[in-house]
């Protein structure tokens, strides 16, 4: 056999370069105890890419870091000063994540503000920042309808997939296109109404692969208040919280492994035999 240099992608498979990997559990052995046990999500970085997070809300607790993205002429502007949440939407998502992963490190990436300008571009900019700055889970309870951003979001979701960043997106309940919730590399979530934050379903007929609590959910909201609301926006953070919890116990899981774990634990999967 030739001893010459291997083609670029094959060099990863040179016996000397291949790292030995730990096995994960047999699929039949995956239980909640195996998946998260008593993990509180400690040490896991979770970005809430939304309208901001109100750290003073009792349901949220601390926020580890802030980034506010806005359009400044042709450029995007990034501001790391603490910000507030004028809508309550990001705070609601953060509150849900906290109920499942109380000790995760929350980062507020604000892309929904009072301004309309460059909505899709600002959203993509916030997502790129999160992927490139060590976030392990990104909650995306929003979407862009702009078809000209298809390529940008496709690139970003692939980047996240290859880096092992879990993008959890709310599917849109409207019959409209919504990026990036329709890509294969994200965890796309819609709502069920069983009042149990740990209960979720796997849908074998994608693009929307997971169903979590999103109907009549009690939510932290703006001005320190609470509301009861319905929307896929609130189903996604339930999956984000669980994913953070699982990563707390199994830090190295890839996106496809995480989907396998969730599929194994889904409430509609039979566990006879």
């Amino acid at each position: 056999m030739s001893e010459g240099p291997r083609p670029a992608w094959s060099s990863a498979f040179d016996p000397g370069a291949l790292p030995a990997l730990d096995p994960i559990a047999r699929i039949d052995d995956i239980t909640p105890e195996w998946a998260w046990g008593d993990s509180s999500g400690a040490g896991v970085k979770v970005a809430v890419i939304d309208s901001g997070v109100d750290a003073s809300h009792p349901a949220v607790g601390s926020v580890e870091g802030y980034l506010s993205v806005s359009q400044d002429g042709e450029e995007l502007a990034y501001d790391k000063q603490p910000h507030e949440d004028v809508f309550g939407h990001g705070t609601a998502c953060a509150g849900i994540i906290r109920t499942l992963a109380p000790d995760c490190e929350l980062y507020s990436v604000r892309v929904l503000g009072p301004g309309l300008k460059g909505r899709g571009t600002v959203f993509a900019g916030g997502l790129r920042w999160a992927i490139e700055n060590g976030m392990q889970v990104c909650n995306l309870s929003l979407g862009s309808t702009k078809r000209d951003l298809f390529g940008v979001f496709h690139e970003l979701t692939d980047l996240a997939y290859f880096q092992g960043v879990m993008l959890v997106t709310a599917a849109n309940n409207m019959p409209v296109t919504s990026f990036p919730s329709l890509y294969a590399s994200v965890f796309s979530v819609a709502s069920h109404d069983v009042d149990d934050p740990y209960r979720f379903y796997y849908n074998p007929d994608p693009p929307v692969e997971f169903g979590a609590l999103g109907i009549d959910v009690r939510l932290a909201w703006r001005d320190g208040g609470f509301i009861t609301a319905t929307g896929n926006s609130f189903a996604a953070p339930h999956i984000s919280g669980l994913v953070a919890k699982i990563l707390g116990k199994h830090p190295g899981l890839t996106v496809f492994q995480m989907k396998t774990v969730l599929r194994a634990l889904a409430a509609n999967v039979s566990r006879d035999g």
């Binding site: 309208s51 004028v86 809508f87 309550g88 939407h89 929904l112 503000g113 009072p114 301004g115 309309l116 909505r119 309870s141 929003l142 979407g143 862009s144 309808t145 702009k146 078809r147 709310a170 849109n172 309940n173 409207m174 019959p175 409209v176 296109t177 919504s178 709502s191 069920h192 109404d193 069983v194 209960r199 379903y201 109907i215 009549d216 909201w221 703006r222 001005d223 208040g225 609470f226 509301i227 009861t228 609301a229 319905t230 929307g231 896929n232 926006s233 409430a267 509609n268």
Partner: protein, 281 residues
């Protein structure tokens, strides 16, 4: 527990399906299509009134199909970054004047910005959360269902229903049904707006060239009138109605009644699916 959950999911799915069928069977699509064609015709001959009626019809029909006590429609003003409150239907709606809501807060602004529909079931427990819609309709609702109006990948406004009749809140099935409806409404709205701006353009050209104008504008207008059969037809019809109206109000009323009867006959007649009135195969 699993059985219970499965049963609930099955019930929910059945309800979505039932509502979907009901939404399809309801005459709203045809009413909307009718309103659109009327608005288009009127838009071509320059009347803004029927566009306003189309907005009303969208709101009325949505409230009727989903059984809401009140409803409102906002259109997005991109430039100003505001939602312009266009129509309200409900107990105190008539007292409320047209006004603007900044996008920076509130349920309607949030839905417009996030593109995600949202239902709130205890809005009155904290009136601060529903200030925008409370200002628009003049009272604080118990429950809210708000969906974006999306046309050609752009959010052009939001449709908001208030106070579900006979239930404490709007259901996920209501959200889905209103989503389907909002899609049709957005198409109708945008087409009506396009016709309206075409009419405005034509009026502007006519004005700038003056009555005896022989400039480029007048030629463009003449060319449009000659080449666009829709415009020509509508103009002829408008001229006829105008002539009849000149004879007096009774004559105009008779003319309207005849046209309405004919339109009713046409609506009742089976026809191939049109752009809006057509059903999916």
């Amino acid at each position: 527990m699993t059985d219970d959950a499965d049963a609930r999911i099955a019930r929910l799915e059945a309800e979505v399906e039932r509502l979907r069928l009901r939404a399809e069977a309801e005459p709203f699509a045809e009413r909307l299509a009718g309103a659109l064609s009327r608005a288009s015709a009127a838009g071509t001959i320059g009347s803004p009134v029927t566009h306003a009626r189309l907005l009303e019809l969208i709101v009325e029909t949505a409230a009727h199909v989903i059984s809401a006590r009140a409803a409102a429609l906002f259109l997005l003003d991109e430039e100003a970054g505001e939602l312009v409150f266009e129509v309200a239907l409900g107990s105190k709606a008539e007292e409320v004047k047209k006004h603007r809501v900044p996008l920076g807060s509130g349920i309607a602004g949030l839905v417009a910005l996030s593109g995600q529909p949202l239902a709130v079931s205890d809005a009155s427990s904290d009136p601060r959360q529903a200030r925008d819609i409370a200002d628009a309709v003049g009272y604080v609702p118990e429950s809210i269902l708000c969906v974006p109006l999306v046309y050609a990948d752009e959010t052009i406004g939001v449709l908001e229903l208030l106070d579900k009749e006979g239930a404490p809140s709007f259901s996920a099935a209501d959200m889905e049904a209103l989503g389907l409806f909002a899609n049709q409404a957005a198409v109708a709205l945008q087409q009506s707006l396009t016709h309206r701006s075409l009419a405005a353009l034509v009026a502007e050209i006519a004005e700038s060239t003056g009555e005896a104008g022989r400039g480029d504008g007048a030629r463009a207008l003449a060319a449009l009138a000659d080449t666009d059969p829709g415009y020509r037809g509508a103009r002829e019809l408008a001229a006829l109605v105008h002539e009849i109206a000149a004879h007096g109000e009774d004559e105009l009323e008779a003319c309207t009644a005849i046209l309405r009867t004919f339109a009713g006959y046409l609506q009742g007649r089976p026809r191939p699916g049109g752009e809006l009135g057509g059903r999916a195969p």
